[in-house]
């Protein structure tokens, strides 16, 4: 196997007496899509911050030297008091042509000249995605990128993310609080609840007929059937 883009070993983090992360290890390789799922308060955000170097945790994190990260934040829009077009927003972070090309790639060229404050949730999600891929990242980190996107838009956006992986050859870390919806294209699914509850390859993801009815026959989205072999206390401690 190739050298991982980023690898974390035995990450542990406590806030006061509360254990947020308990011995979490994971690695993301080039062209690999890793999906991190877990309920609210399961430590996803802390793990993400640790991987991005924003929070110091116990354990070891190794990044490939010169690793270029593209980050898509969770439901973020600049303050409406900031007058700015989508094109200008992209220009702040990437070279002009790269920004325009990325906007075209995510399919919203026409939104380029519009003010950010006038864009819909789905359009904002695509602008943020375009901004992240315009810099040709090695690792694309998406923190709940579908918050604010409607159900029909979700499937299209997941599809787009998988295509971008193929085009850029980058690794992808996708974070979702939704325990059930996971992209079938994900190579590896990690279920987090302070510790790694379960993880597995997503090749065997079941195709739930109800989901196919909802999202169409593309099969980009599917139920990931995973059975918990243990329960948790309210404090998050696993019960035997």
């Amino acid at each position: 196997m190739t050298e991982p883009l980023i690898a974390a070993r035995h990450l542990t983090f406590a806030a006061g007496r509360l254990t947020i992360l308990n011995d979490v290890s994971l690695a993301i390789h080039p062209r690999e899509i890793v999906t991190l799922i877990g309920p609210n308060g399961s430590g996803k955000t802390t793990l993400l911050k640790a991987l991005l170097g924003l929070v110091r945790v116990k354990g070891e994190i190794s990044r490939r030297p010169g690793l270029k990260v593209g980050y898509v934040p969770q439901q973020f829009t600049p303050d409406p008091s900031l007058p700015m077009t989508a094109n200008r927003f992209l220009d702040l972070f990437a070279e002009r042509n790269a920004g325009r090309a990325a906007l075209a790639r995510v399919g919203i060229t026409e939104a380029g000249d519009r003010q950010l404050s006038a864009l819909s949730g789905g359009e904002i999600a695509r602008v943020l995605l375009a901004r992240a891929v315009a810099g040709k990242p090695d690792l694309l980190v998406l923190d709940e990128p579908l918050a604010g996107v409607d159900v029909s838009g979700e499937a299209a956006l997941y599809h787009l993310i998988a295509e971008l992986r193929d085009e850029l050859g980058c690794g992808i870390l996708l974070v979702s609080h939704d325990l059930h919806v996971v992209m079938s294209k994900a190579d590896h699914v990690i279920c987090l609840n302070h510790h790694i509850c379960c993880e597995g390859e997503a090749h065997d993801v079941a195709r739930d007929p109800a989901f196919v009815a909802l999202f169409g026959t593309r099969g980009e989205l599917a139920l990931y059937p995973h059975h918990h072999d243990h329960a948790h206390t309210l404090g998050g401690e696993p019960l035997a």
């Binding site: 806030a15 991005l52 170097g53 924003l54 990260v69 593209g70 980050y71 934040p73 973020f76 600049p78 303050d79 008091s81 900031l82 007058p83 700015m84 077009t85 200008r88 927003f89 702040l92 972070f93 003010q115 901004r131 980190v141």
Partner: protein, 264 residues
């Protein structure tokens, strides 16, 4: 009509200061940091009091304490007390302590209102020179750090997550805010200086489609507020600093009315 020297100085000084406040004030708006400016201004009063107490220039004390307060507040983060509350606590402690120190000094008791609401008509020639120099320096420095500041204002958590946050621009922004607050103390006072930082940019918002246009409009509207306010102060024999702030508020109302009409 003959315009007295002190009016020229007041108009020029207040206009220049308000113009320099415009672009920095835009960032305060975009990043929702009005409360930081407010608390820095309150600490500025303590700085002025301490400056007078130990016999250095009040302006030196104000500038030093305002910068220190801004830098400390920016790093203040606690899990249980919201940052805004923490900053507010520090600021109001400064205001209270500053007031006490000023009251204990018999000789400056008459100046108390001046520190709270400004004394722009008392600007001396050297004050005017200092404000001019500071105004130009602040505008120049703002232009220098414009791009990284704009990137962080527009990108929120993105720059830090991708490992390219510019702490130099952040610190610069806070120092510039503190300097404007310190020099604004003489013009509109500790209680009103934040008005010059947030009202002209807010009035500029409906007129602008780019960040640069908004900064330019904010500078222009701030500069225009000064002579308008002074004229009102003269006409109604009202205090000058508050009149300048009200003039800025009037321009804000006009701009809002314009945006409502333009949308129809």
């Amino acid at each position: 009509m003959i315009i007295d020297d002190f009016l020229w100085r007041a108009g020029l000084g207040a206009g220049l200061l308000a113009a320099a406040c415009g672009p920095i004030g835009c960032f305060i708006l975009w990043r929702r940091m009005a409360y930081v400016g407010e608390s820095v201004a309150h600490m500025g009063l303590l700085g002025a009091a301490l400056g007078l107490l130990i016999g250095v220039n009040a302006l030196v004390g104000t500038t030093a304490l305002a910068i220190a307060a801004a830098l400390i507040m920016a790093r203040a983060a606690d899990r249980t007390i919201p940052a805004g509350t923490f900053v507010g606590i520090i600021g109001h402690m400064g205001l209270a302590l500053g007031f006490i120190v000023l009251s204990l000094m018999e000789t400056v008791r008459t100046d108390l209102l001046g520190y709270l609401f400004g004394d722009v008509l008392a600007l001396s020639n050297s004050d005017l020179i200092a404000i001019t120099a500071v105004g130009i320096a602040v505008l120049g420095a703002t232009a220098l750090i414009w791009k990284p500041l704009l990137r962080s204002a527009a990108g929120g958590p993105i720059a830090a997550a991708e490992g390219r946050a510019s702490s130099l621009a952040q610190t610069g922004f806070l120092i510039l805010t503190a300097v404007l607050v310190a020099f604004g103390l003489k013009v509109v006072g500790a209680l009103l200086i934040v008005a010059l930082l947030i009202i002209p940019p807010a009035a500029a918002r409906p007129l602008a489609k780019t960040p640069e246009a908004m900064a330019l409009w904010a500078a222009i509207l701030g500069a225009v507020s000064a002579p308008l306010g002074l004229a009102a102060s003269l006409t109604f024999d009202a205090p000058a600093g508050p009149c300048i702030v009200l003039a800025a508020g009037g321009l804000f109302a006009l701009s809002m009315a314009y945006s409502v009409i333009a949308k129809r």
